[in-house]
């Protein structure tokens, strides 16, 4: 009790003296408000390599598998192999000095903390910062498992977190640049006969003015919306979304009529292959914008 009071008094004193000191100092303005511990706690989401910032909690590979299948596999694949162009999360060990390196959590990343931090901060892609701490622990454990770094019965906790060391950690080196040196030669810098064109890319259209006409004379109002919002799922077929350009699939769906299909896009729809969120999850879109996007989406590819 007594100790506590002393500590408290000490804290108050420190606070007062530091702001008194500050006030006397050149360059101190006193603008803004002190950030309270609660405010900071709400936003301070970073995890450091030494585990600083980790919230209490735990998660098993087993739980991770279930969450991963539900929330991640649609983009990253059940084995972390990546669907379409979405990032590959597993494999690639031993490829870093190969012709085509495969950089993944297992083959390239330096710290487990980066995985914890990033999953909480940014994934799942469509719902960032929606995961509970235990879910993140479980997902981290599962992604490590996909990379053969832990066994299936592994449970990750705040306490054993720093035990896991990623193999590539020792292979990051400081920036040595400038590492490449040229000289300012003005004449006879090389032999003209030695010069060969080893690769070339020519523009299909000769003049940009014509490109403009071509690009703008046939705009599809829905194309922009589609590219901005719907492409995430409808290009690669994420979450069971019918792919753009899959004529057979769309013909079948359109048998119900354009109005029904459009209504499903507007209001959301759970069908046989998955869940179409209302407006794709982008509620800021107007109904008209979604309608235009649907029109573009169901069109056969050119």
């Amino acid at each position: 009790m007594c100790n506590f009071r002393n500590l408290f008094a000490g804290l108050v004193l420190t606070f007062i003296s530091s702001s008194i000191l500050a006030e006397g100092r050149a360059g101190y303005y006193g603008y803004g408000k002190p950030a309270t511990p609660t405010e900071i706690a709400g936003w301070d989401i970073d995890i450091r390599a030494d585990g600083q910032g980790l919230p209490p909690g735990s998660g098993s590979v087993e739980d991770g598998e279930v969450i991963y299948e539900a929330k991640c596999a649609e983009c990253h694949g059940s084995f972390g192999e990546g669907v379409g162009q979405f990032p590959v999360l597993a494999g690639g060990t031993g490829t870093l000095n190969a012709q085509r390196p495969l950089k993944t959590v297992g083959s390239y990343w330096a710290h487990t903390s980066t995985l914890w931090d990033y999953i909480r901060r940014a994934m799942p892609f469509m719902q960032p910062e929606s995961l509970e701490s235990d879910e993140v622990y479980a997902l981290v454990a599962y992604v490590l498992y996909l990379n053969d770094l832990v066994d299936y019965d592994y449970v990750m906790t705040q306490d054993n977190f720093t035990d896991i060391q990623l193999a590539n950690r020792e292979h990051f080196v400081p920036d040595p640049r400038p590492d490449v040196h040229n000289t300012r030669c003005m004449e006879n810098c090389k032999n003209a006969e030695d010069i060969k064109i080893v690769s070339i890319v020519r523009r299909p259209e000769p003049a940009p003015a014509e490109i403009a006409v071509a690009a703008e004379s046939k705009p599809h109002a829905g194309e922009k919306i589609y590219n901005q919002y719907c492409v995430i799922c409808h290009k690669a077929g994420v979450a069971g979304a019918p792919k753009k350009g899959d004529a057979k699939e769309w013909n079948t769906r359109l048998e119900a009529g354009m109005a029904v299909v459009t209504e499903h896009a507007l209001k959301g729809y759970t069908g046989k292959s998955g869940v179409m969120p209302a407006k794709g999850g982008f509620m800021q879109l107007t109904d008209e914008e979604v309608r235009q996007a649907v029109q573009y989406l169901v069109e056969p590819n050119k």
Binding site: A35, R48, A49, K103, W109, P128, F172, V173, P174, R184
Partner: protein, 437 residues
């Protein structure tokens, strides 16, 4: 579009003034239908009315009144310029929310990039941040953690500087060979603006940084919470907490209402929609500084915290988008040079693939860590050329060749490709992107 509508709305008032107006109305109607104003203008004007607008005739726009003030309360470029746009390359990313668009360098003049044409790069789309509810929090190893509103921030002493902004992956598609068909895509993750805000050092003085502090985490308010660790030296040197760009509030896609600018450093460190600065004593190893933005070397080691954007240059005209259109004769060849280490000292241009160079004129002001424009007069005899530019910065660093870069770094490092670039000019004046042995 609004512009067109208002213009055509004006036509009836002038109906009396004869056939020119009638034709104008047809033209404008045509524009509306075509959807893109410039498309209409470019497609139709030459055939229908070019000759009658040329001397000795009096052009139609000279004989009628134009639209009045506030036709566009926020001014827009001429519809004839509608081709000057950011563009993307869809195969680069799986979607447009974590993606990139490129600055149309071939069409720009001087050194300042108009705000609406600055390339875009973000990882979770453009958040719609309400500036009244946005807060910038500074905490960690500081005496007084604070939370600032935008108006708090704007009370601090303000400073402006012109600096380039470049994605370290600029040109990264070309490590293995020529791949992109225009300067917009080979070099367009590049822009230069006047940035206005508060020096980060001012804010750090305000909160009182602990002696042992050596790194700062900068974090965005977007869905990606984009975050990078910034060394204290940069923070105390010239890092700027920016709220204005080219004289007005930041554009949403550039981080409205506030972002970090680290002059001369990787664009990715210039965190947008900045919500948090945490002071610490070691780097955080965020995803964007391990999985990405590290440079993989041929031996399998990767360089980390490769912040500076080294000296680079490119010819923007001629370029694939700007062929030589007038046959043999004189041309003004021009381009851009920049260095994250300071000022541009020289730019040399070669017409023969790097056998002979001659020094170009610097035609803009020369500022440290800013785009610098150069130009040189070419007297073209119509034979094929291999055009190159090579910049030298004030540290004496000379922009390297592809060979020199690859000898040290191989072809898998993605970032920081600043090789001397070559355009092949064909006798037709057409220009292609090439790489030489």
């Amino acid at each position: 579009m609004t512009h067109d509508k208002q213009k055509s709305g004006q036509v009836p008032d002038n109906e009396m003034s004869g056939s020119t107006v009638a034709r104008r109305k047809v033209l404008l109607g045509g524009l509306g239908l075509m959807g893109g104003a410039a498309a209409g203008v470019l497609g139709m004007t030459p055939a229908v009315s070019a000759a009658s607008n040329l001397p000795p005739n009096i052009p139609e726009w000279t004989r009628v009144l134009g639209s009045g003030v506030l036709t566009n309360p926020y001014g827009q470029p001429s519809p004839f310029e509608s081709n000057v746009q950011r563009r993307t390359v869809d195969w680069l990313t799986p979607d447009r929310v974590a993606s990139i668009s490129f600055t149309p360098l071939a069409d720009l003049k001087g050194i300042i990039t108009p705000s609406g044409l600055v390339f875009e790069r973000y990882h979770a789309g453009i958040p719609e941040v309400d500036p009244h509810q946005h807060r910038l929090m500074i905490h960690g190893m500081v005496d007084r953690p604070i939370s600032l509103t935008m108006s708090d921030l704007m009370r601090f002493p303000s400073t402006s500087r012109i600096a380039f902004l470049e994605c370290p992956a600029n040109g990264g598609m070309e490590w293995r060979g020529a791949q992109m068909d225009g300067v917009q895509f080979t070099h367009g993750m590049l822009a230069c603006c006047e940035w206005t805000g508060v020096l980060l050092s001012t804010l750090l003085a305000e909160v009182g940084v602990a002696k042992q502090a050596s790194w700062i985490l900068a974090e965005g308010a977007d869905g990606a919470h984009m975050s990078r660790s910034i060394p204290m030296e940069k923070a105390m040197d010239d890092a700027l907490i920016v709220y204005a760009q080219n004289g007005e509030a930041l554009r949403p896609e550039q981080g409205y209402p506030v972002r970090l600018i680290n002059p001369g450093w990787e664009g990715n460190t210039c965190v947008k929609w900045l919500r948090r600065l945490e002071v610490g004593d070691q780097p955080w190893y965020q995803r964007e500084e391990t999985s990405k933005y590290t440079d993989l070397m041929p031996d399998g080691n990767a360089r980390e915290f490769t912040f500076v954007q080294e000296c680079n240059s490119v010819i923007t005209s001629p370029a694939p988008e700007k062929p030589l259109k007038h046959g043999k004769g004189k041309y003004w060849v021009e381009g851009l040079a920049w260095s994250g280490r300071g000022r541009i000292k020289h730019v040399d241009v070669s017409y023969d693939g790097g056998v002979t160079f001659r020094e170009a004129k610097i035609t803009s002001i020369v500022l440290p860590r800013a785009l610098t424009r150069f130009g040189i007069e070419l007297d073209w005899d119509g034979s094929p050329m291999l055009l190159q530019s090579r910049a030298v910065d004030e540290t004496g660093y000379v922009q390297p060749t592809y060979q020199q870069l690859r000898d040290v770094r191989g072809t898998n490092s993605i970032y920081h490709k600043n090789a001397i670039h070559t355009w092949k000019v064909f006798p037709t004046g057409e220009v292609a992107n090439v790489q030489l042995s």
